[in-house]
Subunit: 393 residues, 2 copies
């Protein structure tokens, strides 16, 4: 194991009806004035969730102002509006009701309120260069498990004028609490559900395929999570309203992305980097793009560490290994992975999503733009990335 | 899954040489005056660890006062002495260098310094009744993985005058950081090492054997940890200086006891409750006492949920289940568990540690004294506890 630091400072408040506790949770921080931030979709209103959250906040004696209008790829103009509104109102605490875009907007507002300059300065300087040590405290009610923003200390915002998309972060941006109520995810459409499940799987893969040796405990925990995803994924498509299955999925999404199974090893993330160039072109759901690249990536890298892929095949898919050629086992494990994604109704080839080889030069160039090489299990330069896109056709 | 809350607010600083960072870690909290608390054993001096810690603190420009003399079952008189010393010195931060006793003493001092009354009032009122919301911040350098006190918010102290042993706790008592350096554990004696490994195993058992349904992800993660312990335990006895094995053991000890695999389900803990009556009699190492009771407990309860024990046998020991009688599989799983503890050189019967049936009335009575029944998988009253002690003979 490599040296590492690990903590989960956010209070993860998990389970049925827990969003109704938001008022008492906020009040426990000794504050009175709260800004509630949420997206402009119909779901929050039609499901009654928005009203329940309002009732809980007001029932705890809190004064509430609201900011809405958040859309995917959240923008700095709305953050600036939120900073002004929070200051004018005298907000002492922020509550994000939504997914990654809402949480990230709320975090940016939290950073901006006590900051003397323009909040974009945090982003213009990028994560690590100008960390956020001072921010309003915030809490989250999660409506879709995806980005992990509910329990990390970063956020990503787009500057529409400058046409830049940057992140910022710092210890002050960890949400104080994040309410994870699986009931809220029961109405997620089939495709989004499947994409979410496959995305979790990929988050574990990015950590599991590593060159770091002696990672037995996190390997075994990862394999347990892989197997659980294989078990619940197809059941969830058959029975999307099943609370117990939604609960497993929501908790696995959190565990898969908060480094419980990532500590102590070098992680890869090339699959994610390559997938961003797909979604940049055609707005494909993130989970679908990741799946396409994960299948191709596995086919490209498995020879680099056959033993790792054999362990994966044996412990996750129960493949017979004795007396068999390692490469055959490894390839079968890759095939089984791809078959699972297909079973979940995901595309597994670029050709299925309308991308042909004519884009590969441009995609590979952009994927490697910042660092020259991406990934760690097998470092990938532009040429290698192009070969993987080719395998994904 | 049941509803739950989960967080790990303590920054777990894991790996080689990390104790040398203690100075910069403390200084990052903007403090100047530190009290270092440590036990009176020879190890800290002879290993050079104490000097390295002193150097790190002083090297970060911190002023240091020291309190030593802590022994197992830490006492309130030393806590009171520490409170007075910390106040006189003007300590702004406390550092515990040691195991559970040192950490608990340090936590109690942290609670006592800003408290107007006598610190024992926190304990006399017991956990939950009088929680600690205000305390000096503290950090930990762990020298033995056992109690989990390094990343929880509780402590247990003995009042020698009143002959009482009580706990107290509260959010202010979470250590800010806990340094886990596996190198420090490389010199642990064989028996302590084995007892620690078996104790970890029991901590997962207490969470795994539950009546809560639909706990797939935490089940699978638990089984991964069980298997890893079975793999590394015997290797560690053969090769005690092996850093990689020590690292696995140290991290599993943390994960097994911080509810990573315990969330969302009713936990049992009857095995631990019964084991305390052994250590009350003969000072047996905690891990050894737990192992004896775990074997007997399993034999007593397995019929309550054969499917659970079959799953355990199949997923942890790889037992063949098809076409076999469930009870046979369950019993084989229990036998395999006991065989592992034997392989680790642990006693598995009360008769091996000099306890006979003449003590069972008294032991069972004391074990059930506070709550009438202990455990949750199968609730156990005095009579049932006695039957389990009988099975442990």
């Amino acid at each position: 194991m490599d040296n590492f630091n690990f903590s989960i400072p956010t209070n993860l408040v998990f389970g049925k009806d827990r969003h109704k506790e938001v008022g008492s949770l906020v009040a426990s921080y000794g504050v009175k004035k709260v800004m509630l931030v949420y997206d402009s979709g119909k779901f929050l209103v039609e499901s009654g969730l928005l009203d329940e959250v309002r009732d809980s906040l007001k029932g705890a004696g809190l004064e509430v102002t609201e900011l809405t209008g958040i859309k995917p790829n959240p923008v700095i103009s709305l953050v600036r509006k939120g900073v002004a509104q929070a200051r004018e109102f005298g907000a002492e605490f922020l509550v994000a009701l939504g997914g990654g875009s809402t949480i990230d907007t709320t975090k940016a507002i939290a950073a901006g309120v006590p900051y003397d300059g323009d909040v974009w300065e945090y982003f213009a300087n990028a994560i690590g260069v100008h960390p956020v040590f001072k921010a309003l405290p915030l809490g989250v009610i999660l409506t879709i498990s995806a980005t992990g923003s509910e329990s990390n200390a970063g956020c990503i915002i787009t500057n529409e004028e400058l046409k830049q998309k940057y992140g910022c972060g710092g210890p002050a941006l960890y949400p104080k609490f994040a309410i994870l109520n699986p009931q809220i995810t029961c109405s997620l459409p089939r495709y989004q559900t499947a994409a979410g499940v496959c995305d979790m799987y990929s988050h574990i893969c990015e950590r599991y395929f590593t060159n770091t040796k002696n990672t037995l405990a996190v390997d075994a925990m990862s394999e347990g999570l892989f197997k659980t995803i294989l078990e619940i994924g197809p059941k969830l498509l058959e029975d999307p309203q099943n609370y117990d299955l939604r609960a497993e999925a929501m908790w696995i999404a959190t565990v898969a992305h908060n480094d419980t199974v990532g500590v102590g090893r070098v992680q890869d993330w090339a699959t994610h980097d390559m997938s961003y160039e797909i979604t940049n072109i055609n707005d494909l759901t993130h989970g679908a793009a990741v799946v396409i690249m994960l299948c191709a990536w596995m086919k490209y890298v498995y020879k680099h560490d056959l033993d790792r892929f054999v362990r994966y095949g044996k412990n996750v898919f129960g493949l017979e290994t004795e007396g068999r050629d390692k490469e055959a086992v490894a390839l079968e494990a890759v095939e089984k992975t791809e078959a699972f994604f297909k079973q979940m109704g995901m595309p597994v080839r670029l050709s299925e999503v309308g991308i042909d080889a004519s884009r590969f030069d441009e995609m590979a160039k952009k994927a490697c733009l910042n660092r020259g090489e991406i990934g760690a299990f097998v470092p990938l330069d532009e040429e290698k990335v192009k070969e993987i896109y080719q395998l994904a056709l």
